[in-house]
Amino acid sequence: MLAYIVRRLLYAIPILIGVNLITFALFFVVNTPDDMARMQLGVKRVTPEAIQKWKAERGYDRPLIWNAQASGADRLTATIFFDKSVRMFAGDFGRADDGRDIAREISLRMGPSLAIAVPTFVLGLLAAISFALLLVFFRATALDFAGVVLCVAMMSISGLFYIIGGQWLVSKMWHLVPISGYAGGFEGTRFLFLPVLIGVIGGIGGATRWYRTIFLEEISRDYVRTARAKGLAERVVLFRHVLGNAMIPILTGAVVVIPSLFMGSLLTESFFGIPGLGSYTIDAINAQDFAVVRAMVFIGSVLYIVGLLATDISYTLVDPRVRLQ
């Protein structure tokens, strides 16, 4: 099993390198730094000096991957590729356009992101699994049918609508919680209530339907018939036998996103004014701050790969076939 985990870890390395190469190509090869400078400075009022200055401020005035002018190791290191891409592996993301250190900004903004994302994820998962089990328990009845129709209807509503509608209803009409904002500590829970609620409701339709499908597939298997032939009650069959087996596909979908919770949610954070990584990203996109976007792409990929690894490890917990081989 250890060999299995080590192998998965080793497999992550080429993927990270691949991600790095793709982002480098996307940010520096598709458009040259000159093009970007022209864009940012405004196509019309641009002078060669302004471009040079813009590039120098950001360290984009070096050659892309090979510095012929430099000597020794500098030929490789005094380049944009080394400076902007390779250094990311060491956690050095450089500075944003406003001059702040990106790594520090990220560490500050992680907390608020997690404060929203973790409760949303946990409550959403629990709610969806419970509803799915309920529907499966009453399968092929009117309740099941109504539940599925409701799920499809909820899936068909835009996420933006949930946020806008929720803010309007709960905060503006009922004045239950503040419409947006954030505070740390216990005081902050009143700010968290609405975004978490909306996050859970927004995702529940699709998740419930997906889990219901998984449960139904499991319930048609032979071992479920064996469990019933033993005389077990339907409740026991569902919770002990079906749920245990269904955890395998459910984990595939759920565990992989856990590390990515750090990234926060773009929409929720920006609508509710949460100072997390999601709103950081969206602000960077709107301000076309490429250094921040690049850093977020890299971190997102690392977290996804950690998620893949966590999924592999979680299999060993629920599936004896993986654990014991």
Binding site: A3, A227, A229
Partner: protein
């Protein structure tokens, strides 16, 4: 609960199951009545789709979604099962009636330990928990013959072999101390030596007083196990008799034909009796006898009204039959034109296989290095002459299918040579060798028309004459021209196998490798395909390499036999020599394990499971299970001993002159 001595344990009356389907109502069970007394074994016999499994599931009220009990009743120890409240029904399930299923591989929960799965039945029905439950579970595993039960309790189903899983299923079914065990095709998925072990186990339980409802399609298993037999056809029982009477003189024309279609009953190389047509669909509404369309003795009355039950002997109600044609002397009427086709062995072999090896690497560790080899085929040598049939016999996992694919070059052999008519074969030779596969449902592309499927083979060789050639071949295998535009799903299993044979013939090969071509078919359809194969051999001079586990089929059509065990051939020779005078202990055990129609039991049942080909026992692979094993057997693999007439055996215990 006190039950009077004479009352049957289970009494089923006019049971009917309805299942709404597209375009009508299926009636998979349509008025079935039978009794089982305490400690009795009743067998429900029938081909696929006759409603026997559905009957069992209806008794347990475990019908699939949509199906419901539409009429009749089933009374168990005085409780009327169809109307019992669900809570009381759960006590009957497991507590009164235990059930085991056909596929032990999928019938156990893969993520719960064996102990847990047995334990929950113990807790439910006996209220046992903790240490007492564990002790009882160990006893149960011990009772069903699982070695080292303490350790097995903490294992998971994937760590057990198929036979072990079925034993665990039985232990689980026994946990609630039921009085009746329903066994739905309990050994169909198992190898014949393992089948013998499981049947022994079930027989032992019955002797201890357990009643058994055995559901099977296998006449041999019925002969071995049952006290009474009920033959099912199209949702109804058509004949009911004590075992001895039934096997001595089956009365219903369907039963009679079923016997005649068994390869055991026809002489070697002779033609098998077949039953024309197919079992009617479960949605059919019947007016007369359900068998009338396929019966060669049907009277006018048979078409008009369903026949009533009648006793064979006027005063004896034990043997009854639902047939209007009486007295039923159908047995005498099955005429089979027994024409022996003795082809004398040709001088030069068509196929020569020398020391064929097919190894698959096992990778492990961080860098996925090759740490071992699965020796699926490990030095197989065969000779096959034109126009002859060589049967490659063995249990699942012995490497016989892999050997077939390696000979065909579908898999590139690791070592060894394959020669066809003297030429070394290195790539696919579509025009010489073709293959017929096991599963007629997986072997035809569902998106191609029958004509296109066969034309694919023609194109490999014939070129432009394709349409005429397709029509010609379809005629040869008994298909009609109008089928070319239809799709595979419109055909039954037997017809699909004909199409697969036609496709193989299209390339005009002289050698057909048949990989279990009839094991997925019912016995009456199997007879049609076996007849077709022998006709084709006679007409076209084809040679067959026939891969199978079915000894009866081998006996019926093979000229020579090679017996495989764990990647090697342990014995080969003429069919007569190998089957009548088996010399290798494995061959002897294999032949003994086959259930016989006369109901006799094997003196010895082979213990243990087939070892893994990744890690075969040292020396002779068979020695851990061999009754004759000596110290030398663990030391080296025995060289072949030639007994004359091409009969060779790889065993230290056999010498060229040793008398049997």
């Amino acid at each position: 609960m006190s039950v009077s001595m004479n009352a049957p344990l289970l009494s089923v009356r006019d049971l009917a199951v309805h299942l709404p389907v597209q375009g009508g109502m299926a009636r998979p069970v349509d008025g079935v009545s039978f009794d089982i007394a305490a400690g009795e074994c009743v067998a429900l016999l029938g081909e696929s789709g006759c409603g026997k499994s559905m009957t069992a599931l209806a008794i347990m009220r475990l019908l699939p979604a949509g199906a419901r009990i539409a009429g009749g009743t089933a009374e168990f120890e005085g409780r009327v099962l169809p109307t019992l409240p669900e809570a009381a029904m759960r006590e009957v399930r497991g507590g009164g009636i235990g059930m085991i299923f056909q596929e032990p591989g999928t019938s156990l929960n893969p993520v719960l330990s064996i102990g847990r799965q047995i334990g929950e039945a113990l807790e439910l029905h006996l209220g046992l928990r903790g240490e007492t439950a564990r002790k009882r579970a160990v006893e149960l595993l011990d009772q069903v013959g699982i070695p080292d039960p303490q350790r097995r309790l903490d294992e998971y189903p994937f760590q057990l072999s198929g036979g072990m899983k079925q034993r665990v299923m039985i232990a689980m079914a026994l946990a609630g101390q039921p009085r009746l065990l329903i066994a739905d095709e309990p050994t169909t998925a198992l190898d014949v030596t393992i089948q013998a072990q499981v049947l022994d186990l079930l027989d032992g339980l019955r002797r201890d007083g357990m009643a058994l409802l055995l559901i099977t399609h296998d006449l041999g298993v019925v002969a071995r196990m049952a006290d009474r037999v009920g033959v099912m056809y199209a949702g109804q029982l058509v004949e009911s008799a004590p075992r001895k009477t039934f096997f001595a003189a089956p009365a219903h024309p369907y039963s009679v034909r079923l016997f005649a279609a068994m390869p055991e009953t026809a002489g070697r190389g002779g033609r098998l009796a077949t039953i024309a047509g197919n079992v009617p669909a479960a949605t059919t509404l019947h007016r007369g006898c359900r068998f009338v369309e396929r019966c060669d003795r049907a009277l006018a009355a048979c078409h008009i009204a369903p026949p009533a039950w009648r006793n064979i002997e006027a005063r004896d109600s034990a043997h009854r039959v639902r047939c209007a044609v009486m007295p039923c002397d159908a047995a005498a009427t099955v005429k089979v034109d027994a024409q022996h086709t003795v082809v004398l062995s040709a001088p030069t072999p068509l196929l020569e296989v020398v020391d064929l090896k097919m190894h698959f690497p096992i990778r492990s560790g961080i860098l996925q290095r090759v740490v071992g080899q699965v020796r699926a085929v490990d030095g197989v040598s065969l000779n096959l002459a034109a126009g002859r049939t060589l049967a490659l016999v063995g249990e699942s996992g012995c490497g016989k299918t892999t050997a077939g694919k390696a000979i065909l070059q579908l898999l590139r052999p690791t070592a060894g040579s394959v020669r066809l008519a003297g030429d070394v074969v290195t790539g696919i030779r579509a025009d010489v060798m073709q293959m017929v596969f096991q599963d007629p449902f997986a072997s035809l592309n569902p998106r191609l028309r029958i004509g296109d499927i066969i034309a694919e083979g023609v194109r490999a060789t014939a070129g432009q004459r394709a349409p005429q050639r397709v029509a010609q071949i379809m005629g040869q295998v008994g298909l009609t021209d109008d089928m070319v535009h239809r799709y595979p799903h419109e055909f039954s299993g037997g017809q699909r196998q004909r199409i697969a044979i036609a496709r193989a013939l299209a390339a005009d090969p002289c050698l057909l490798i048949c990989d279990e071509p009839t094991s997925a078919l019912d016995v009456s359809v199997q007879a049609q395909i076996l007849n077709l194969l022998s006709d084709l051999q006679r007409q076209l001079g084809l040679a067959y390499l026939f891969i199978t586990h079915n000894i009866a089929v081998v006996d019926h059509l093979a000229h020579e036999v090679a017996v495989m065990y764990l990647g090697r051939i342990v014995e080969q020779g003429s069919t007569e020599a190998v089957l009548r005078d088996p010399r290798h202990p494995y061959t002897q055990a294999l032949l003994a394990a086959v259930p016989r129609l006369d109901g006799t039991r094997p003196e010895t049942v082979l213990a243990g499971d087939l070892p893994s080909p990744a890690n075969p026992p040292a020396g002779c692979h068979f020695h851990p299970r061999c009754p004759l094993a000596s110290a030398a057997c663990a030391g080296a693999y025995p060289p072949p001993v030639h007994l004359g007439d091409g009969h060779t055996v790889a065993c230290f215990a056999v010498t060229a002159h040793s008398p049997r």
